[in-house]
């Protein structure tokens, strides 16, 4: 599965725009991401949101990631 990185997240993955990770849920994706790129911790502290096929998830680690979906990692949104 291809995961697209945005913003400052790329620097934590040595500048990569996309990375390949196999994961069935958001939780698994996050765990594998941290394993591969320990610098991601810096970004996980303020929070990361995951976009799956255009829908942004902030607090749904159990969310299943369907095969062939479009996956983006985004900063965790903040609102007023």
């Amino acid at each position: 599965m291809q995961v697209s990185l945005t913003g400052g997240l790329r620097s934590a993955a040595n500048g990569a725009e996309t990375i390949d990770i196999e994961a069935e849920t958001i939780r698994e994706l996050m765990n594998k991401l941290l394993e591969a790129y320990p610098d991601m911790q810096d970004h996980m502290d303020p929070g990361i949101a995951v976009s799956i096929d255009g829908e942004i998830y902030r607090d749904s680690p159990a969310k299943k990631i369907p095969p062939n979906s479009e996956v983006f990692l985004l900063p965790r949104l903040q609102g007023g």
Binding site: T6, G7, R10, S60, G80
Partner: protein, 751 residues
């Protein structure tokens, strides 16, 4: 979280009607209780001592004289506030009370609790603080220059490769986009490159921060507070003070406006600490001056925008570099801004870079669609310049490039069904566009985008024996959401709106709810209310099954009553909710519905605004003559309050565009910390604000709801900027477009 999409043709009975709000009578009679309206026996007055310097080392704080003053019950400094959070919330703690250094004018250094205001004031004067004044920086561009005073030593720029080794005021750099910028600009017939600046503004809620804190020697406590998120305040206060979550009950008062500014803790942990030390309740209320100096305004920015376009109006490339001033503590405001900058458009080649920059100003908090209005000002102003350059109508240019379902957003993901195209078409066809302008008048329009989000939500429905319904919500009602939730609850249960009474529960009475921010209130609590009501309906059906002694599978819930299905039950007249509730005691006890949910999939939101202004060419004074807001609401649950959000956001944006700004002196102190010189619009400054609600359903919500609270503040800076530029005949690039700035631009253009 994809739901049945049949709702698109859903016929509502009460949702969409303009009912009276449940808290209306309390609010027009003065009975509603806000943050400063609670009292407790034996309560003390809590006051804060604040830094007169923009940046200084605290050499010593001597509180001994204050402590000895008769009537003083507690004095607190950072020495009383060890970090219990292993650094996780150290920024918040340091902002609530300065530790080794003060980082901005107004930063708290000590607090006292005394028997009355007079005594507390005297005590503040007796506290002696010796400072070593340090060099300061308050401007975002100055802070980025080499040699600028470092606001937070140890800060290394995040998001650059390789990792920097030197300290910097640039806390983070984030890039969003796709495609090939160089190739895109090569394809362009016209390229416009322009720099813009926006000044710092404040949410300007009329109610200052206020709380009543009470902590006993057993470690239990209560906090009555004006906040957008009492659960978040509980989490933060408990962590900062080393208390157990369950032992701190936080009740949200009526909230007198927040707009993002009441999502943080400020005085509350200190009020609790004072109370714990004094073993008496402590009431703390900020003055307006303190609100301006020491709460959380939004960022000032400085940016460079470059967009290329073909003669036929196709945008070939867009780039933005936007520098956001985060105050004295780093956050992700620059990232958010960069994500939103080009979100309205379908662009092949796009890049937006956001910078988060530290300065000696207060810690920035969210302000309604945080970071989006500034980016929109730069991009939407440049869009008008492009339209002019290729001789195309500005609305047509936007329509031609508008994002649609399937567009890859400038911040990454692919859009589902969205409303930017429809709002632009509505703007094009709006009667406002066709009215004639008079002398010195100009018209402008602009678009805006905001993500919206959902989050953790928990809701209870309890049905009384007379069939009236208590709806307990955990999202603070900032704009009339109790009315909307009651409508949703009534709709689901099939009962009249008047039969529902909604209230905001305290933290002990309901599970965790995220803060009311990100336009999430109606979206997420609406969702939880629907599911809680459906659970209650299942229980109502069970009870009806018992009353009739038939299988529950043979019962349907229609229009507020249980109906037995099938010819064999023709002799059973329907049982209303009231009839079932009356028998609850004998059929299993109280009837309730409950739901907890992480409401994701909030659905992005778009708006287009049109405005006419008149500029006096001799004074630079601007009058807003006409204003129209067109926005996608997904589904308007209570149209009055959707319009209210549209109008309020527009008014805040108009103030930001024309007159509101933080003005710092050379000495780094705030010069206009009051409503006299921080000029929010008054009634006579504004016309009626026309609204048009579009309903493009959000496929991820059972009723199709999208958040509506924030997007309306995004377009006004640019819409006014475009209108003023058209009226004055000169491009305005600096917000606010105050009379001196407009007059100078006119004169410079004429010279």
């Amino acid at each position: 979280m994809t739901h049945d999409q049949s709702f698109t043709n859903q016929k509502f009975k009460v949702v969409g009607t303009r009912v009276n709000r449940p808290d209306g009578v309390d609010k027009v009679t003065g009975r509603a209780k806000y943050g400063a309206d609670a009292t407790a026996p034996g309560q003390l007055v809590g006051l804060f001592l604040r830094s007169p310097h923009a940046h200084a080392r605290i050499k010593k704080i001597d509180t001994s004289k204050a402590e000895k003053l008769k009537g003083v019950k507690a004095v607190i400094t950072s020495a009383d506030l060890p970090d219990h959070t292993n650094g996780a919330l150290l920024d918040k703690l340091t902002n609530c009370m300065a530790r080794d250094r003060v980082l901005y004018d107004g930063h708290a250094v000590a607090a006292v609790a005394a028997i009355d205001r007079q005594t507390a004031k005297k005590a503040l004067k007796l506290i002696k603080v010796s400072y070593e004044v340090l060099p300061h920086v308050t401007d975002v561009d100055e802070a980025m220059k080499p040699g600028a005073p470092i606001v937070q030593p140890g800060t290394k720029t995040r998001g650059v490769d390789p990792k920097p080794t030197k300290d910097s005021n640039v806390a983070g750099v984030s890039t969003f986009g796709h495609g090939d910028l160089d190739a895109g600009f090569k394809e362009a017939d016209v390229i416009i490159e322009k720099s813009y600046k926006t000044e710092q503004t404040h949410q300007g809620y009329i109610e200052p921060h206020a709380c009543l804190a009470s902590v006993g020697p057993d470690g239990s406590g209560e906090l009555w507070v004006t906040t957008q998120g009492h659960y978040t305040y509980r989490t933060d206060c408990a962590a900062l003070l080393g208390m157990d979550l369950a032992k701190l009950k936080v009740t949200s008062s009526e909230i007198g406006g927040g707009f993002g500014g009441k999502t943080h803790v400020w005085i509350e942990p200190i009020a609790l600490a004072l109370s714990r030390k004094a073993n008496r309740p402590v009431k703390a209320v900020m003055t307006r001056e303190e609100v301006f100096k020491a709460s959380g305004p939004t960022c000032s920015t400085s940016m460079d925008i470059k967009i290329g376009v073909k003669k036929d109006g196709t945008i070939t490339a867009g780039s933005a570099h936007i520098r956001y001033q985060d105050g004295a503590f780093p956050f992700i405001w620059g990232q958010l801004g960069a994500m939103t900058a080009f979100a309205c458009y379908d662009l092949k080649n796009v890049q937006a870079v956001g910078y988060d920059v530290l300065v000696n100003r207060p810690k920035v908090a969210a302000y309604r669609a945080p970071s989006a209005p500034m980016a929109a000002f730069g991009v939407e102003s440049t869009m008008d310049l492009l339209a002019e350059a290729i001789g195309m109508d500005p609305v047509e240019l936007r329509i031609k490039n508008a994002a649609k379902e399937g567009t890859k957003a400038s911040y990454g993901p692919t859009y589902g069904p969205i409303g930017i195209g429809p709002t632009l078409e509505a703007a094009k066809n709006h009667p406002h566009m066709k009215t004639k302008l008079k002398k010195n008048q100009g018209r402008g329009m602009a678009c805006g985008f905001w993500f919206n989000f959902g989050g953790q939500t928990c809701t209870d429905i309890n049905i009384g024996s007379d069939g009236t319904v208590n709806l307990s919500l955990g999202t603070v009602d900032v704009g009339g959401s109790r009315a909307s939730m009651s409508l949703i609850c009534a709709e689901e249960l099939g009962i009249p709106y008047e039969q529902v009474k909604a209230n905001v529960a305290d933290t002990s009475s309901l599970g965790h709810n995220d803060t009311t921010e990100g336009s999430r209130g109606t979206f997420s609590s609406g969702m939880a209310t629907i599911f809680a009501a459906r659970e209650a309906i299942e229980e109502l059906k069970n009870r009806a099954a018992q009353m009739w002694d038939i299988p529950v599978e043979e019962i349907e819930w229609i229009d507020g009553e249980a109906r037995a299905v099938g010819q064999q039950h023709d002799n059973l007249p329907p049982l209303t909710l009231k009839e079932i509730a009356a028998k609850a005691a004998g059929t299993g006890g109280p009837i309730a519905g409950h739901n907890e949910v992480v409401a994701d999939g909030a659905g992005v939101s778009f708006a287009s605004h049109i405005c006419d202004v008149e500029v006096d060419p001799e004074t630079g004074g601007t009058k807003v003559v006409r204003y129209t807001v067109i926005q996608d609401a997904g589904k308007a649950i209570h149209p009055d309050y959707v319009e209210g959000q549209f109008q309020g956001g527009a008014a805040q944006g108009i103030g930001w565009a024309l007159n509101e700004e933080y003005i710092y002196g050379e000495d780094g102190t705030l010069q206009n910390a009051g409503f006299l010189d921080y000029r929010i619009p008054v009634c006579s400054d504004l016309p009626f604000i026309d609204t048009q609600i579009l309903e493009i359903p959000n496929p991820n919500h059972p009723y199709g709801i999208r958040g509506v609270g924030e997007t309306s503040i995004v377009p006004p800076l640019a819409a006014i900027g475009n209108a003023v530029s058209n009226a004055a005949g000169v491009r305005m690039t600096h917000v606010p477009m105050s009379p001196p700035r407009i007059l100078k631009a006119i004169e410079d253009a004429g010279a």
